[in-house]
Symmetry: C2
Subunit: 213 residues, 2 copies
Amino acid sequence: MSSTPPRRAARKAPSERAAEIAEAARELALERGLAAITLRSVAARVGVASGLVAHYQPNVDALVADTFATIVAAETAEVAALLARLPDPPQRLALLLDTLLDGARLDVTAVWVEAWTLGRRNEALAASVRVQMDAWQAVLQDVVEAGIATGQFETPDAASVAWQILGMIDGLNAQALVRWDGVNDRGVHLARAVEGMVGAARGALVPGGLPQT
Amino acid sequence: MSSTPPRRAARKAPSERAAEIAEAARELALERGLAAITLRSVAARVGVASGLVAHYQPNVDALVADTFATIVAAETAEVAALLARLPDPPQRLALLLDTLLDGARLDVTAVWVEAWTLGRRNEALAASVRVQMDAWQAVLQDVVEAGIATGQFETPDAASVAWQILGMIDGLNAQALVRWDGVNDRGVHLARAVEGMVGAARGALVPGGLPQT
DNA sequence: AACTCTATTGATCACTTGATCAATAACAGG
DNA sequence: CCTGTTATTGATCAAGTGATCAATAGAGTT
């Protein structure tokens, strides 16, 4: 019948507590957005006083920026790891498009979109956004350049094309955030568009590999 | 040497004052974002007491939603009017892409992106966003269908392609909001991608009309 | 000129936020 | 067993928010 268990949180090693705080902030961001990260909300989730959260971060802006970076870097690494297993550049690109459009990461997309806006008033976050965008672009550029090397792609400016593809993916995902219905064959349309941009053969990027049963 | 001019704002017709408030909110949104719309900030800009702003709107959420709609509807109408002067569908589509990517409307893009996020907590705004997205999509679908009618485009699903193009434009513009550099030939790449999606002839959508001097 | 309607005020309330800091208590090392 | 370090607390501050409403005063009508 003990109503409120222990009144004081167990003392932990700084690194451990810092990790708990980071994890709580991450969950909050994915569930309710970056704007839901406040000293009190994070503290409550960890089960700790608000002052402790402040103790571990110079300010809230930094916590938001770090949280954004953590979430997005994990996504980038995850997708990059997926791609690394496929040797063929067109297959890699097809898998990338397919994976990013499958709707399984809409919570991350919401974080991206929010970061674009919040970055206007949070310089640390803005810097983080630029870093993470560069990382994504690098992943894409790698694939495009690999395809050029094998002769399966042809484009004079892999970097620009990579940026372009990234922008398209972001836009389509942001759209999916607001409007699910109305758009059919998102993957197919995008694949077709990207084929044109990288100079791949028609159908080379069709998601499911070979069409038809 | 009169320090504070008139202490009380001149009494005006409700419709006139409402228009002033709407205009002030619009300017604030374009300059500092939708989040900068508060009872006090709008009131200060109009030169009026905060209570008066509240008097003209049921709540702040509604003012934000209305402001968003005003800004975006004006953009849509402006671009639609531009297009109406060109008879040829490929030319219309090329002009549309070129216009939306020219960077002259980045403030509006910022409002769009912010609305996607704020819509999560402001139902009126979310509804407004859906309406305005539909309006944009309709403009695009019109052009695509016109091209199909003349035989210059060929695609089985004009509606989906229109959504897709819209998503791509939004994404590229959002990207430009954060990163200006690094991306060359945005218009050309997008034109190439869209040509593929609508089934237009290669080069049919190149911005400047005929390439080369 | 008196009157009525209502646009306008601005003080006020309840809340939320980030930040600060003296006080407390748990742990480690001597 | 003591003692010093520091993780942790929670009250507190100032700032900002949306909303409310009695009081005020301007303008049109009679």
